[in-house]
């Protein structure tokens, strides 16, 4: 869908837990040669949520930053809130309800939680765009937040991380204009978690070609085809990062360069934050992008589906950013290392 009316992102915020565990610590505990898995996955460390953090608290902190960055956003006019996660703390009771109270939003709000694995955050974003475009909301808040679960000893343990990103969507004072968006979804069982099960199951190598690569390729080709743009017309491309290898491979396959994909590869330093991942990567890109630059983003959610967005930055992004602090890389830099036993202790004590 090509966007014919003004809509876009007005402000954004992130939360990255301050604790990190290095992959070398995990490799040691799994009796793997140090550096072997890290090199294969192109991930060096991952974030670890603190004892009193969860999807809701991280979502709050990311939304708090988004609101602080644009005090002109009237909270009473945030009329939609969608929270995407695969680790909502409640099976029944929405994460969004806690956030309405915590952020002191108006109770006159359309709100729900979404789950679609790692694309639940971007699906929330797409829904928020539609609320604003339709006139049902002046502002809408889209949040992706996750504390990813992985069984001790499983390969997912190397990358399952935690983080959150929030985007305030509106049709005025836009810092990132939405040019087009589409989605693609099929019933592809690459990764799932049944109720009452603590950890997900995955189908190993099947999660690659028929799942991740197929869906991202299909969705991205669709948006490029509709807009008539070529990879060389794009300044930044962001693909979902379950690790550091997959996005590089799909970028190359689709005709993008390393330079276009590199700014979004924060997975190397924070791991895979699941529903927050591509939104965090977009935030990292927005922290450095200049005006009038095009950004292509395609997320991927297991089960499976992909959301694609084509954006263009505005002059207002650069102007507003000059007054901000605590960018994504600042938060990454301030991370404190924990040992593997410290990391396990944090999980056990929750």
């Amino acid at each position: 869908m090509i966007c014919s009316s003004p809509v876009g992102i007005v402000s954004y915020g992130t939360h990255i837990p301050s604790l990190v565990v290095s992959l070398s610590e995990i490799e040691k505990s799994h009796h793997k040669p140090i550096g072997s898995v890290s090199a294969a996955l192109q991930v060096k460390q991952k974030t670890v949520p603190n004892l009193d953090e969860d999807t809701i608290t991280m979502a709050y902190e990311s939304a708090l930053q988004a609101l602080e960055r644009d005090p002109n956003v009237d909270k009473e006019k945030i009329q939609a809130l969608f929270v995407g996660s695969e680790s909502h703390p409640y099976a029944v009771k929405p994460s969004g309800s806690v956030l309405i109270e915590a952020l002191n939003l108006s109770p006159y709000i359309g709100m729900a939680d979404l789950q679609f694995a790692c694309k639940a955050g971007t699906q929330s974003l797409q829904i928020c765009f539609s609320y604003v475009l339709s006139g049902m909301a002046q502002y809408a808040l889209a949040i992706g937040s996750d504390t990813a679960q992985s069984k001790v000893g499983d390969v997912l343990e190397y990358t399952a991380a935690a983080g959150a990103a929030s985007f305030i969507v509106g049709n005025d004072s836009i810092i990132l204009k939405l040019l087009a968006t589409n989605s693609y979804a099929t019933d592809t069982p690459d990764f799932w978690r049944r109720p009452m099960e603590e950890y997900p199951q995955h189908t190993g190598r099947f999660t690659g070609e028929p799942a991740y690569f197929h869906h991202i390729e299909a969705s991205t080709k669709k948006i490029l085809g509709e807009t008539g743009l070529k990879p060389s017309d794009i300044d930044f491309c962001i693909f979902h990062t379950p690790n550091g290898i997959f996005p590089r491979l799909i970028a190359k396959k689709l005709g993008f360069t390393d330079e276009q994909v590199a700014p979004g590869l924060i997975v190397e330093k924070i791991g895979n934050c699941y529903a927050a991942m591509t939104m965090l990567a977009l935030s990292a890109v927005l922290d450095v992008a200049q005006k009038n630059q095009k950004i292509l983003l395609t997320s991927y959610g297991s089960g499976a589906g992909a959301d694609s967005f084509l954006f263009e930055t505005t002059e207002l992004l650069v102007e507003k950013r000059n007054t901000w602090h605590d960018f994504v890389n600042d938060k990454i830099t301030h991370g404190k290392n924990v040992t593997y036993s410290g990391y396990i202790n944090l999980i056990d004590r929750k």
Partner: protein, 111 residues
Amino acid sequence: MNAINYWRQNKKWNLCLGKIGTVFSCTKIYASGSEQNNIIPYFFCIVDFADGGRFELMACANEEINIGDHVQCVLRKIGTGDKKNIIAYGPKIKKYENSQGIFPRQSNPER
């Protein structure tokens, strides 16, 4: 925490959530009640907020707090309950020191 008491309390979150303040006094608790057993040791602080309010709040898990620290009030889990209970969320403080070294304006003087 009783679910209905949680509901009464969440109406008061906006009194301090998001606000920035200065630590007036703090203590590191090593022996707690059962609701906070999983996060000991933790800091408990008296905080003066920039808008003049004074509150007594727990610090976020694993935060090291000193008197005079600039802090921000954020939402965190404030107690553990069993897996059937409502999750007790509430205000806690964490250090606020933005990357450009910009501190909030001073809170009220010591009383």
